[in-house]
């Protein structure tokens, strides 16, 4: 009897204590299992979407590939786990994913009460509205009395309420669990307007039954700094995520690209470049990785500009301008602290 109870208690204890595995460090557990569990968007063109071959493409999924490159020197050691806006935080908190890389807005309450950390911002965005052209609406201020489709559990839902309240406009909200259902409802005419981050509006418009019949209104009603999120309490892992983004920014700034990185690593005598690529100093090993971690990222995935242009910029159907996502030196907000 005693033995049965002990076994029972041990078995249950082991299950219930599964969360404690995180205590040994996310990096170690990733190395042990041999892959990164990356919480991605279930389908948003340009950010995280599986193509016809089932291969994930997008700015956010490439960020997980960059991490995989830095840790494993291989971009394929990532398992993408599509998460709806509604399920994403629970999945991260419970340890089901190591990182959330699915256009998640960094907000104070999420940072302080959800047990999360937002190490970097890989896309500065803002919330906008899309309407059907035939309504003849040219400004969000004219949306008095409109029905608006939105995705539940997002900051979008809160900004929407704030905006209509601040402008003393009436509206009716229709909220859905997934982005897909939300957009379908708008497309079929259930709502007059569809609201999400501006990048998302352009991405979703591509899926409309007649994309050109829809226009994006000029108002941007919020700040949406989007970036990867990790569990709070693992400083090393947060640092790796943070510096992966900064390495890509610094590479862009220093002019290191996927094409010239091999040549740069051999012949560049620019100390900045040498420190980024790991031929000078031991910044990579201090981070808990190898010294050529940033070289791997650039060689296998590319610098920030390359990833941006390929997924959401001029090389993609979305054709989003760099805008505030340009480097600080070109009038934007993207600023990579020095690697030194």
């Amino acid at each position: 009897m005693k033995r049965i109870v002990a076994a029972l208690a041990f078995g249950l204890g082991a299950t219930l204590l599964a969360g404690a595995a995180q205590a040994q460090g996310t990096l170690n557990s990733i190395k042990q299992k041999g892959y990164i569990s990356c919480g991605s968007n279930p389908g948003l063109a340009g950010f995280g979407v599986p193509d016809a071959q089932g291969r994930w493409t997008g700015l956010d999924v490439d960020f997980c590939r960059a991490l995989s490159a830095a840790i494993f020197n291989d971009v394929t050691k990532v398992r993408f786990i599509p998460l709806s806006a509604k399920d994403r935080f629970t999945a991260l908190q419970s340890g089901e994913v190591d990182i959330l890389s699915r256009n998640t807005t960094w907000s104070m309450s999420r940072d302080t009460t959800l047990g999360l950390d937002f190490p970097a911002v890989n896309f500065y965005d803002g919330q906008g509205f899309m309407v059907k052209k035939k309504l003849g609406v040219t400004s969000a201020k004219q949306l008095d009395g409109a029905s608006v489709c939105t995705q539940q559990g997002t900051t979008t839902e809160l900004n929407l309420a704030d905006y209509f309240r601040a402008n003393k406009l009436k509206y009716e909200v229709v909220a859905f669990a997934s982005a897909d259902e939300t957009f379908k409802a708008y497309d079929s005419g259930r709502c007059d307007a569809f609201t999400t981050d501006a990048s998302g509006l352009y991405a979703e418009r591509l899926r409309a039954s007649a994309p050109d019949d829809n226009i994006v209104l000029p108002e941007i009603i919020s700040k949406e700094p989007l970036g990867p999120a990790v569990r709070q309490g693992d400083a090393q892992w947060a640092d790796i995520v943070r510096w992966t983004h900064y390495a890509m920014l610094n590479a862009e700034e220093a002019g290191i690209t996927q094409g010239n990185v091999d040549q740069m690593v051999k012949s560049s005598d620019n100390p900045d470049v040498k420190r980024i690529l790991g031929t000078e100093g031991k910044y990579g090993t201090d981070l808990g990785l190898t010294n050529d971690w940033a070289y791997r990222i650039i060689k296998l995935v590319g610098n920030y500009a390359e990833v941006f242009e390929k997924n959401v910029g001029q090389g993609s159907p979305l054709k989003i301008q760099r805008g505030v996502n340009a480097l600080w030196s070109k009038g934007g907000l993207q600023y990579g602290p020095p690697i030194r």
Binding site: Q152, A175, G233
Partner: protein
């Protein structure tokens, strides 16, 4: 059994050591099991709290008092993003769930009984239609049916600008059905009072009619009197108020605005699709329950009733169904519970039920997964237990009383 007992035989069971006494042993095992479950639960709760603390996730039920900051489109209790709390959002979700469940249960029961009886109809067309209905609807997953109804409800209707209009006050479009909304004036309390008196009067008259029939065999016109009381009294009250120059009920008509219709009463497509989906799906199961119940009644009962000269209708209503009820009620209760729980699929079509509002939006805005899920589970458990309790009371009433 020994036929003879020694004179000095002890009465009662033979005395054994407490260690071997099966009753004491049984009790001891149960106590041990209870202790084990208690310890495991204690460890689990402690662990969850510890892990949450380690993960720096805020916990506790304090969040229910925080301002919600989001809007919900269909509410029966007042809710605004500016002032309402997460607690109110919970109540909004709860009332919406209860409304859908209650309406769904009533409609599914009516439809299910009709189809169940139709399945046993001697008429080939009626019987086949009922069979096809049951076989098709109960074999397609409810989620697909809900999506079908939602898309079908939406797709077939015109946009808000070219609504179907019935006169100038009733509109139907993609956003739902718009009806004039009655606004009750201050003196309007007389109307519900008149209605209540009408209902009580009808019940009293029915009891009187039963006694009268039992005593003399004479049947009083219960239906006619009841209708007169229930409909007549409020109308009379309305007339009296109107004569006094008071308009007890004003109507708020829907008016076309820039986008939607304004004012009036709106029946949302999400609500319609959910009620429709739950009703036709559950009715298929209820129909089978009803068929099983009717077939469980001995054929001799029908034959005896016919031999007494009862028509098929009254035979069914007065002889077969009352006996079938004791077979029908327990599985019917399960169907009611299923319908209530299935209403949580509303999340797929955007109807703000408990799961959508509370476990969706509130959970995400607050991140209080453990608390929110615990509350939601407790609510469904409570609803189910209450439903089961009510149905068990009813079951006791219709159960066969053996004499």
């Amino acid at each position: 059994m020994p036929t003879q007992l020694p004179a000095d035989a002890p009465s009662g069971p033979p005395r054994v050591s407490p260690f071997y006494d099966p009753r004491i042993r049984g009790a001891a095992y149960q106590i041990l099991l209870l202790l084990a479950v208690g310890v495991v639960a204690w460890i689990a709760i402690g662990n969850a709290a510890e892990n949450l603390r380690n993960a720096r996730v805020a916990s506790g039920f304090g969040f229910l008092g925080n301002t919600a900051g989001f809007d919900v489109n269909q509410t029966v209790i007042p809710f605004t993003a500016a002032t309402s709390t997460y607690g109110t959002a919970f109540l909004v979700g709860l009332t919406n769930t209860l409304i859908v469940a209650a309406i769904g249960i009533v409609l599914a029961t009516l439809l299910g009984f009709a189809v169940g009886v139709a399945r046993l109809s001697p008429n080939w067309i009626v019987r086949t239609l009922a069979t096809v209905y049951v076989e098709v609807l109960r074999n397609i997953p409810l989620l697909l049916q809900l999506l079908f109804w939602y898309v079908a409800v939406l797709a077939s209707l015109p946009s808000a600008r070219d609504s179907y209009a019935l006169g100038t006050s009733v509109f139907l479009n993609q956003r739902g059905l718009y009806l004039p909304k009655p606004l009750l004036a201050a003196d309007a309390w007389a109307l519900p009072l008149a209605l209540a008196i009408g209902i009580i009067g009808t019940l009293l008259f029915r009891a009187h009619a039963r006694r009268e029939q039992a005593r003399t065999g004479r049947r009083l016109p219960v239906l006619a009197v009841g209708l007169a009381l229930v409909l007549g009294l409020p109308l009379l009250a309305y007339g009296v108020l109107a004569l006094l120059g008071i308009a007890p009920v004003a109507l708020d008509f829907p008016i076309k605005g820039t986008f939607n219709l304004r004012g009036g009463m709106q029946l949302y497509p999400e609500f319609v699709a959910l009620v429709l989906g739950l009703t036709v799906y559950t009715a298929a199961f209820i129909a089978e329950v009803v068929r099983a119940g009717i077939q469980a009644v001995n054929r001799g009962q029908t034959e005896a009733a016919r031999a007494l000269g009862l028509q098929p209708g009254p035979t069914m209503r007065l002889v077969v169904i009352p006996q079938a009820m004791r077979v029908i009620v327990p599985p019917l209760t399960s169907q009611f519970l299923n319908l209530t729980k299935n209403s949580s699929l509303a999340v797929a079509i955007g109807y703000p039920d408990l799961v959508q509002v509370f476990m969706g939006t509130v959970l995400n805005q607050t991140g209080q997964a453990v608390e929110v899920v615990a509350i939601t589970m407790a609510v469904y458990l409570t609803i189910s237990l209450v439903t089961a309790f009510a149905m068990n009371l009813y079951n006791r009433r219709v159960a066969l009383i053996e004499r």
